[in-house]
Symmetry: C2
Subunit: 394 residues, 2 copies
C-alpha cells in the first residue's frame, strides 16, 4: 500500500504512455486542419448547395479517399463515419445479426464487442466466445470448429487492448470466407500502425476509431462495409438525400449517416491519415516495435515485474500490460502519475474476459501504450520509475 | 430558368445565412477552447486516472454544468452527450417506445423525428401526426384529442426548421403532464436562442444539437433525460465504469455514452454556451428577432416574393422561407451563392410533411436563417439580391 504522503511533485514534462486510450499529442497538421475547417469552411456538408457547404462536403470525401488508400478499399462511399469504434461495432453487429443467428468471437475482445453480443442474447442471437490462451493467442482451429449452420458473423479484434496480442486476422478471414460467414474486424488498436487490407484479409466489415493510431480527433470513427452487404441502420433522420421520403434512404453512406456529421473532426482525421501515409505506415510501426522491444527487454530485467501477453514486439501491438508483485494496479498507476508524471491506464481496460484469460481479473494491469511520438528516453524514464516503485525508493 | 452564363464572380465577402443548418462562424472562444483541449489535455476522459484524463473529464463535466444552467436542469449527470440532435432524438424515441405504444407528433417535424417514428411502425408502435395549419401552427386541442390509452410519448419541435414557426411547447407540456404522457422536445432550432426551462415546460426529454444555436462544434449534441425516467440504450460498449461486467451499466450518463466521447467538441460546446450565458440569451434573441423583423418587412415590399410561415418575428425563430414566383428554389439559391455570394439552403429541408403543410412540396423553399453574427447590412444585401433576382437584373 502506498502512502499519499510519500508522493512528491511530479517531473515537469509529462510522459504520455496511454496511446491505446487515445493518441496524444496529434500531429501539428491535425490541429491545423481542424482549426482551418472550423474557421474557414465550417458549414454543414451535404445539406445546402452553397460554396462553403460544398467545400465541407469535399473535405469529408477527401477523408473517405485516404481511408480507402490505407485499407485498400475501392469505393469511398462504403466508408461510414461514426463517433467512435464502439459506435461502428454496434452498427456492424446489430446491423447484420438477426434472431436465430450465431456469432463467434474471442475472450480477448473489448466490451464494445462483448456487451452488444451479450445484449443480443435477449433477441435470440446465440454466441460462442472462444477462450484464448494465457498470452491472449487464439487457436484458429477452434474458430473453424465453432462454426454452426446458423453462424452469420465472426467478430475479432486485430490486437488486444490489454496485452497487445496480435490475432491471426488473415487466417480467420480465410475460414470466414470458406464457410460463407461474415467477418468483422475491430481495428481499435491497429488502424494506422499495422497493415490492414480488407481484400487480402477477407474483411467484410472493418471498425476503426479515428482518434487512436489514425491520429485524428476524438469524436471520430468509421465502419467499412463491403459493397453489396446490406446492414440495418441504427438511426434514421435527415441525410440531405431523398428528403421527400419519410423512410430512411437506402443510398450508402447516407443510410447510416443521419444528422450533421463531425466535419472538423473528419477533416482532422483526414489530416492524421495523410500524415501516416506521408511518414509510411511501416516506419511508424517500426518505431513503435523498436520501443516496445526495448521496453520489454528492460522490464525482463526487473524481477518483481510480471509482464502479460506475448512479450515479443513482433507478436504484439505497442501495448504492455504488467503488474508489480501483488500491488494493486491502480496504486501503481497513481504513483506513476503523481510522482513520476507518467500517464498510463490501470484496471480492467473494459475487457473483463481478457483479464480472466490472462489471470488478472482481480488485480487488473498497469498498461503502458506507446505511440509514434514516444521516444527511447520516455521508455527509460518509465522503466526507471517502475524500478523505483519496485524498490519503494521514491 | 437561369442561365449559368449570366453568373458573374461573387462578391468578396460571403454572407452566411444558413445558420439553421449549422451556425457559422463560431465565437473565437469556441475555436480557442477546442484547440487548447486538443493540444493541452487531449487525453481520454473517464478511462484512465492520470492528470490529463482527469482534466479532460472535468472539462466535460463543466459543459454538463453550463447546459444545466441554460435549461434549468438540476443534475448534470442527466445530460447525455450525443453526436448530433438526430442521435439524441433516435435515442429518446427508440429508448422509450415499446411495442403497442402510441406516439403523437406534428406535421412540422424534421425527418430526424418522422423517420424514426415511421420506422417504429414495423415494431407495432402506432403514431398520430397532427396536421398543422398553412403557417405551421398546431391546434393544441388536437394534441389532447389525439391521446389514447396507449399513448406514451408526444414529440414536438420547439420551432420549425422550415418556417421558423414557434410551437406552444409549454401548453403541450401541460397536456402531457395531465395525461401522464412523456414529452420530448426537439430544440434543434431554438436551443441557445429561446428560453427553455425543462421544469416549467414539463419537458421529460430534451434533444438539442451542439453546433447550431449553442455555437459549439459539429459532432456534438445532447439529450436531457428527466431523473427517474429509464430509457433503453442504443449502444453498448466501454464506459470506463463497471468494466468487470459484460452487461451495460445502468449508471447514467455512462449507460448511454459508450466509447470515447468527442472531448474537444464537448469542450468547444461548453465555450459556446458560456458565450451565450455571458452575452445573455435574451440579447441574442433580441438581435435575431430584430433582424428577422427587419427582413420580413423588407420582403413584404417585394411583390414577387412569397414568404411562408407566421411572418411575425415574435412567432417564429430566425428562419425565413420564401419563393420567388414559380422559380425553382434551387435555382434561386444557386444564383444567391454564385452571383451574390450569399449562402442559404433550398429544397425540402429534410421535413417533407412541413412542405406538404405549407404547400411547397414540389417547389421547396429558399431558406434564409439568421444567426447572432449576422448584421443589418447582411440583410440589406440579401434583400437587394432577392430584388435583383426578381427583376433578373444581375
Amino acid at each position: 500500500m502506498f502512502h499519499v504522503k510519500q508522493l512528491k511533485k511530479g517531473c515537469d514534462k509529462m510522459i504520455y504512455l496511454d496511446n491505446a486510450a487515445t493518441s496524444f499529442p496529434k500531429p501539428e497538421e491535425v490541429y491545423k486542419a481542424v482549426d482551418e475547417c472550423f474557421r474557414v469552411f465550417g458549414a454543414n456538408p451535404g445539406r445546402s448547395g452553397h460554396k462553403l457547404a460544398l467545400q465541407a462536403g469535399r473535405a469529408i470525401f477527401n477523408t473517405r479517399e485516404v481511408i480507402c488508400e490505407l485499407f485498400n478499399i475501392d469505393n469511398p462511399m462504403q466508408i461510414i463515419f461514426t463517433s467512435n469504434a464502439t459506435d461502428s461495432l454496434n452498427l456492424a453487429i446489430k446491423g447484420i445479426l438477426k434472431k436465430g443467428d450465431h456469432v463467434i468471437t474471442s475472450s480477448m475482445e473489448h466490451n464494445s464487442v462483448l456487451r452488444p453480443i451479450k445484449t443480443l442474447e435477449e433477441k435470440g442471437i446465440e454466441n460462442t466466445i472462444i477462450k484464448c490462451d494465457e498470452n491472449g493467442f487464439i487457436d484458429v482451429t477452434e474458430v473453424e470448429k465453432s462454426i454452426r449452420n446458423n453462424t452469420r458473423l465472426i467478430v475479432m479484434t486485430h490486437a488486444s487492448n490489454v496485452t497487445g496480442t496480435i490475432m491471426p486476422i488473415e487466417e480467420v478471414g480465410k475460414i470466414a470466407k470458406k464457410y460463407g460467414v461474415f467477418f468483422l474486424v475491430d481495428a481499435a488498436q491497429t488502424a494506422g500502425v499495422y497493415d490492414i487490407d480488407v481484400k487480402k484479409m477477407n474483411i467484410d466489415l472493418l471498425a476503426f476509431p479515428g482518434h487512436k493510431g489514425l491520429m485524428g480527433p476524438q469524436g471520430t470513427g468509421g465502419l467499412y462495409i463491403r459493397e453489396g452487404l446490406n446492414l440495418k441502420q441504427m438511426k434514421e433522420g435527415g441525410t440531405g438525400s431523398k428528403s421527400e421520403s419519410l423512410l430512411q434512404p437506402e443510398i450508402i453512406p447516407d443510410k447510416f449517416e443521419s444528422g450533421t456529421p463531425n466535419t472538423p473532426g473528419i477533416v482532422g482525421l483526414g489530416a492524421g491519415i495523410k500524415f501516416i501515409l506521408d511518414k509510411g505506415i511501416e516506419n511508424i510501426r517500426k518505431h513503435e516495435e523498436e520501443l516496445t522491444d526495448y521496453m520489454l527487454k528492460k522490464l525482463a530485467e526487473i524481477k518483481k515485474v510480471k509482464v502479460y501477453g506475448p512479450q515479443d514486439a513482433k507478436k504484439q501491438a505497442s501495448v504492455i500490460s504488467l503488474n508489480i508483485g501483488d500491488l494493486d494496479s491502480s496504486e501503481v498507476s497513481y504513483a506513476l502519475d503523481q510522482v513520476f508524471n507518467i500517464a498510463v491506464r490501470s484496471g480492467l481496460h473494459c475487457a473483463p474476459l481478457a483479464h480472466k484469460t490472462i489471470g488478472t481479473f482481480e488485480q487488473g494491469t498497469v498498461r503502458f501504450s506507446i505511440g509514434y511520438f514516444n521516444t527511447k528516453e520516455d521508455i527509460d524514464k518509465a522503466v526507471e520509475a517502475i524500478r523505483k516503485i519496485c524498490k519503494k525508493t521514491y
